[in-house]
Symmetry: C2
Subunit: 395 residues, 2 copies
């Protein structure tokens, strides 16, 4: 009998409790023995819940119970979640989490503690929710040098952009709809401003390029600047606008990373990832391009990934765990301003549409240039004209 | 230092030799120590190859060398490959392979030997080539009851069908082109008749539904019956024709499986998987739909997956390996004739197009019926008219 504890029983935590109950037979088959959720740390009143008998209010009970070999953290943030995860690892328990802020900001430190304690810190659910992504990257693609990553990793903004293109609604209207449907928080800043996507690309970069990338180093642009006009233009030209989290290897073992809304062909797979769905495209030097697609958030997909991580801590036994994640090496980071791209540009005045078309389809402005080069060329050519939108165009 | 041996150094085996040489630094980081290819079993003359000094002609040298902990089989078929894999396992060595025929036909027996010997038999590359698929399925999705699988798992036929739809060429012309480009063998029967896809869906079923499914039990239809007219019709209606390998859970822990060309909407992700690319869509009861996309064959993608498997045997140490694959239970298999579907039907005579349209879009014939029901309805309605094509339509 293997025993786990849950920290926080809200949306995702509740999903874990459901899966560990309903899929118990599958879990036992997979773990080789029965798996029990022994404690649920939850401060709210849970007396009417089916799992009320498991509730404890004091983390020390979990910390001090040698029967508990793995702790699933569903608290969020880097306050008490950080403290409890650290204490659990120091108490010799493996930890699984979906907390991307915690991993993006404190992952390096926590992984070092886990290694010293010979336990596991697994966080498959922190990027791409239920989509198997981090483990395939670090395991199945381990024979590859990863060349680039490109992902739609935030379902809320993808829903909003999809609505803007497919239904012609404004960003505000699409956001209000997303909030009504429960896809967006009351305060949507972390999604709309790209912070959520930023944390996820940092985790992916840490794993794929092997040195810690602090979120504050990564230029991040949310979707607030995308207008209905841009969306309609994209649609007419056979493009979608997607908030893409990107990273790519550059010369000499260096890499770039950024988050920004970008134009992408609707004939590409990523250009067809719509609504709240997520997808990440990975290119390795041996395997070529692989793409992973699925529900990037939501109660059951996220809980599914966390339960799989729990099972994995049981299965691994004392097998080694290699996470290729070293300290920050600032000299490896190439600012995206130094990375050429094609661009979409829209500005006020009658020549707007043909010039924008030229930017995307043919004309001189479809040549790959860096953003500073583009802006200086535009200044030169369009003296006195107001530039309304500038977005990268993905090839 | 970890040591591996390679059986066969043709296309894929040569790719393994290249990766183990060129990506050596990444492999060492991943395995935690240097990894060496000690022997290459190859009967052809290899004296001009850079790895000529590793060549042996006698399998017993590998079998009897205690330094070799893992053997990579790239011979193919179930003759000598079966014998050597069995002997390697019995000699206490782990085995990795891309041989789908071997795994589909002898997987159950070989996995039992591996378990008894406490070694690993890994075969990620046998389905989907370089796409991480089997490990995510058995590991990341282990908290799920898998509900259905639907895959484009043969690149040759996908290339042919893509050419037929996008360029309007005949099957024979597209096949000749595929042979010229090296996508199809001189004898293309295993691809064109669906045998390759059949072996892959059997492996997926074995892993996801947990009991052995012998290939000869699975109704398999290749692409020879697909005509240019069908391809054009599909295109006009917003569909692609794809050779899909499908399996789905049915009532009472039963499941169905089949391989057949099917109509699928071009607005779906699978409908946009073109050329030689592969993709597998998996639906779990917690995670919902996930899709895995990438190069399903080819030297470097396949070799990449096999090298990752080699590394995995090193990393796992004595961690347990659970493969949920039991003996055949024939009572679990539901014949696809008993599974309702929508259908595309084309027949000779002037009413062909409207009736075919009705089958796909609206009309009474878009109702889900089984194939025997459909055929008897057609007999009734179309007495004396020749039916030219009947294909399932995917929802």
């Amino acid at each position: 009998m293997k025993k786990a504890a849950l920290l926080g029983c809200g949306i995702v935590g509740g999903g874990i409790a459901i899966i560990m109950n309903e899929n118990a037979a599958y879990l036992e088959k997979s773990a080789g023995e029965p798996v029990e959720l022994k404690y649920i740390l939850e401060l709210r009143d849970c007396s009417d819940q089916p799992w009320a008998d498991k509730v404890v209010k004091d983390f020390a009970i979990i910390e001090n119970d040698p029967e508990v070999s793995v702790v699933a953290e569903c608290i969020g943030g880097v306050g008490v979640a950080y403290e409890f995860v650290k204490r659990a690892l120091l108490a010799g328990k493996s930890v699984v989490t979906c907390n991307k802020q915690l991993i993006a900001e404190r992952g390096l430190e926590l992984l070092e503690i886990a290694k010293a304690q010979k336990v596991f810190l697994l966080f498959e659910a922190s990027v791409g929710g239920g989509i198997p992504l981090l483990r395939p990257l670090t395991n199945c693609l381990s024979a590859n040098r990863i060349e680039s990553l490109r992902g739609i990793v935030n379902g809320t903004t993808n829903y909003i952009l999809t609505q803007m293109i497919q239904c012609g609604v404004s960003l505000d209207a699409a956001l209000a709809e997303a909030q009504k449907l429960g896809y967006a928080e009351a305060n949507p800043a972390a999604d709309v401003d790209g912070i959520d996507a930023l944390r996820k690309i940092c985790i992916l970069v840490d794993l794929c390029f092997g040195s810690n990338l602090p979120p504050e180093k990564v230029p991040t642009e949310g979707i607030r600047a995308v207008t209905t006009e841009d969306a309609q233009f994209a649609d007419r030209m056979g493009y979608a606008i997607k908030l893409l989290a990107c990273a790519a290897r550059q010369d000499g073992d260096r890499f770039t990373a950024y988050v920004a809304p970008q134009f992408i062909k609707t004939t590409s797979l990523l250009g067809n990832v719509n609504g709240v769905m997520n997808a990440v495209s990975v290119t390795g030097n041996a395997v070529g391009e692989c793409l992973f697609y699925g529900a990037g958030a939501g109660r059951m997909p996220t809980a599914s990934a966390m339960v799989a991580d729990i099972l994995d801590t049981f299965r691994r036994g004392n097998g080694k765990k290699f996470i290729n994640w070293g300290p920050e090496r600032p000299e490896r980071f190439v600012h995206p301003d130094d990375v050429p791209s094609r661009w979409y540009v829209r500005w006020s005045g009658s020549c707007s549409a043909p010039f924008a078309a030229a930017c995307i389809t043919e004309g001189t402005h479809s040549a790959a240039v860096t953003e500073p080069m583009l802006r200086s060329a535009l200044d030169e050519m369009l003296r006195g004209v107001e530039i309304l939108s500038v977005f990268r165009v993905c090839d």
